[in-house]
């Protein structure tokens, strides 16, 4: 197996050091240095296949995305609460196939995660060869709701591509939006 370069491993190491500091509630330099040594040791001993990052990360796009995400979580949580009380056993659902633009594992995973975290939608199955997500949506009554759910997923993916997609994915997205 090919070892990831230090640059590829760096986000993982930084994350491990942050977790170490957070758990000790101590961000003093000596504690962080010891955490960094442990992080390198852990990354060497328990080696995992490297996550293929695109090398881009747009913070300016990430912050509004996070705010919108939180807003949607709040809105959807209230909606699920309302559905549980008002409709209960009579709720109508659907399983919707949503083909994604990107074929990278990272993008498909991230999109599935964000969609699953927003109440009312749940990833039932993933087809990796065609990068299609099969999503179980709560309160999807007709074709119009199906289209709405599909558009929501595609928009989420577009937002994630703008944050951390590869340059090729971004160019394809911009072309699609412009056309």
């Amino acid at each position: 197996m090919r070892r990831g370069s230090l640059r590829q491993e760096l986000p993982l190491l930084v994350w491990l050091v942050i977790v170490w500091g957070a758990l000790w509630q101590d961000f003093s330099p000596d504690n962080l240095l010891f955490g960094a040594l442990l992080a390198v040791a852990v990354a060497r001993l328990f080696y995992l296949p490297p996550v293929e990052l695109s090398g881009r990360f747009n913070v300016l796009k990430a912050v509004p995305f996070a705010v919108v995400f939180l807003g949607r979580v709040v809105a959807a949580s209230c909606q699920v609460f309302y559905l549980a009380v008002a409709q209960g056993p009579k709720v109508t659902n659907a399983v919707v196939a949503v083909p994604l633009r990107s074929h990278s594992d990272l993008m498909v995973t991230a999109t599935g995660h964000v969609i699953s975290l927003i109440p009312g939608s749940l990833v039932v199955e993933v087809d990796r060869s065609t990068s299609t997500l099969y999503i179980h949506g709560l309160n999807v009554r007709n074709g119009e709701d199906v289209l709405k759910l599909r558009k929501e997923v595609r928009d989420t993916e577009a937002g994630l591509i703008r944050i951390m997609g590869t340059k090729e994915e971004l160019a394809a997205l911009n072309q699609e939006v412009g056309a």
Partner: protein, 138 residues
């Protein structure tokens, strides 16, 4: 002009009180959903999702009440781990539930996965039959 320390305290107390009540309401939503929704999949929605917001609000109120910034990274890490694990567990249970047919088909307005699953199952059966045929031929 600096506000009085007491008013700051009162505001922080009020905000964390609101967060705690709303966070607890989210757990109540999960309980009501578990009782009232008809099948496994819709119960999954109720059981896993309100915790994302409910836990966020409760952790935020803990952070507000403890008044030390050292505690915020721990709470953030706790929430991030929740965000990372909730969709995975929901997906695994939902997937297993779909495959073992623990859902009410009549409550689905559309099912675009069924045809795909049946096609795959048919292909698997056919390849199995082919293998069997080869074995007897030999």
């Amino acid at each position: 002009m600096n506000p009085e320390p007491n008013t700051v305290d009162a505001v922080i107390d009020a905000v964390s009180a609101v967060f705690m009540v709303v966070g607890a309401l989210m757990s109540l939503a999960a309980a009501i959903g578990l009782l009232r929704f008809p099948d496994l999949m819709s119960r999954m929605h109720a059981a896993t999702k309100p915790q994302v917001l409910g836990l966020f609000l409760l952790l935020a109120s803990v952070g507000l009440q403890l008044r030390t910034w050292w505690v915020w990274p721990v709470l953030l890490v706790a929430w991030i781990f929740q965000l990372l694990t909730v969709p995975v567990s929901a997906h695994m249970v939902g997937r297993a539930g779909y495959r073992t047919k623990h859902l009410h088909k009549e409550l689905l307005s559309k099912d675009e996965l069924e045809a795909v699953v049946q096609k795959a199952a048919k292909a698997a059966r056919e390849s199995e039959a082919d293998d069997g045929g080869n074995r007897t031929a030999r």
